[in-house]
């Protein structure tokens, strides 16, 4: 139930709320339910909707996808290598 609520809140925040709410909800999903696909899909949706090339980042227009991909990588690393 909590897992479903988190995912619904995550996608709703993309449309209605500020970036930091979306990022916090994404981190909660990664840490709690490990639904990586939903998080990446949401990040892609966020970038596709609002994204424009960021000159300081060499024209990257998928900032949030990159951030979440990095967070997922860190999460996988921490769980598989350090905690187990």
């Amino acid at each position: 139930m909590i897992r479903l609520l988190l995912i619904v809140a995550f996608f709703s925040s993309i449309v209605f709320l500020h970036w930091w709410v979306t990022v916090l909800l994404g981190i909660a999903i990664i840490a709690y339910s490990r639904d990586y696909a939903f998080v990446l899909a949401g990040a892609l949706m966020l970038d596709a909707t609002y994204g424009a090339p960021l000159i300081p980042l060499s024209g990257l227009s998928f900032l949030y996808t990159a951030v979440f991909a990095l967070l997922i990588t860190i999460d996988l690393f921490v769980r598989n290598r350090l905690m187990d």
């Binding site: 709320l17 500020h18 970036w19 990022v23 981190i27 909660a28 990664i30 840490a31 709690y32 966020l46 909707t49 609002y50 994204g51 424009a52 960021l54 000159i55 300081p56 227009s61 900032l63 949030y64 951030v67 990095l70 967070l71 860190i74 999460d75 921490v78 769980r79 350090l82 905690m83 187990d84």
Partner: protein, 261 residues
């Protein structure tokens, strides 16, 4: 590691989640505030380096005179550009009149759905009516203030990239005499640019666009003069609060009108 292995699986799962969460927060904060951290580091380096005034104290008179001459030449060039710009604007208006091209060829009006600081992109998501003629490259105006350019359009929406997007440069005209300089966006509705020391700029002065007619682009917030440099740094902000923008107008630049015909 040994301590954690001896704990129960439930504790391990909880501990792993908390660790991942903490790491994630650190990484996110590092990424989101990397610009601020970089500026803080730069400021610290500058503050601990030798006082800049010593540079002048150790310079021979001839070098100082040379620098002064260069600065005066730069100021003369800026003044010439200002005169030239006025002449070109007048000529452009005359040509537009003769060719019966209206510069303010409005292509549509849209309602702002999303504005900064929703994301870090410094973009406006604008809802458009069905019969809009907005296309990529159109200029977005809010009550006559230039705020950005259309990045991409769809059937019912357009994404406007604000001129204050980080790193984005635009030509502006500011001060007395009107200096034409390149302003760089800082994000969040802020600009920064350098003007020659001889140009008079004060807080509250209007920053005019040099690319989209004589339209207001922003307002000077503060001027930082450095005695060691022949220019002074000007920080400006958008003339309208980005979060308060509800409707925007779109116009097509003259070059696009000519391309269409």
């Amino acid at each position: 590691m040994m301590t954690m292995r001896s704990r129960s699986p439930k504790f391990r799962q909880f501990g792993s989640a908390i660790t991942a969460l903490l790491l994630a927060v650190i990484v996110v904060l590092g990424i989101m505030f990397s610009g601020a951290l970089f500026r803080l580091g730069s400021a610290l380096i500058v503050s601990v380096s030798a006082p800049a005034s010593e540079e002048y104290a150790n310079l021979p008179r001839a070098v100082l005179a040379g620098r002064l001459k260069d600065a005066e030449q730069e100021l003369a060039r800026i003044r010439y550009q200002a005169v030239l710009s006025s002449a070109l604007v007048a000529e452009n208006e005359r040509l537009l009149l003769e060719l019966a091209i209206r510069e303010d060829d409005e292509t549509g009006v849209g309602r702002v759905v999303s504005a900064p600081p929703k994301t870090h992109y410094d973009t406006l998501l604008v809802s458009l009516p069905d019969n809009h003629a907005v296309s990529e490259g159109d200029v977005a105006l809010f009550e006559g203030i230039v705020i950005g350019e259309v990045e991409r359009t769809g059937s019912r929406a357009a994404l406007v990239r604000l001129l204050t997007s980080p790193g984005l440069t635009t030509d502006v005209r500011v001060g007395e005499p009107g200096a034409i300089v390149v302003a760089q966006g800082l994000g969040g509705g802020a600009y920064v640019f350098d003007v020659p020391s001889g140009v008079s700029v004060a807080s509250g002065d209007a920053v005019l666009s040099a690319s989209y007619g004589a339209r207001v682009l922003g307002v000077v917030g503060s001027v930082v003069a450095d005695p060691d440099r022949t220019t002074k740094r000007v920080y400006a902000h958008a003339a309208a609060a980005l979060s308060d923008i509800r409707f925007v107008h779109f116009i097509r630049p003259v070059r696009s009108v000519e391309d269409d015909s």
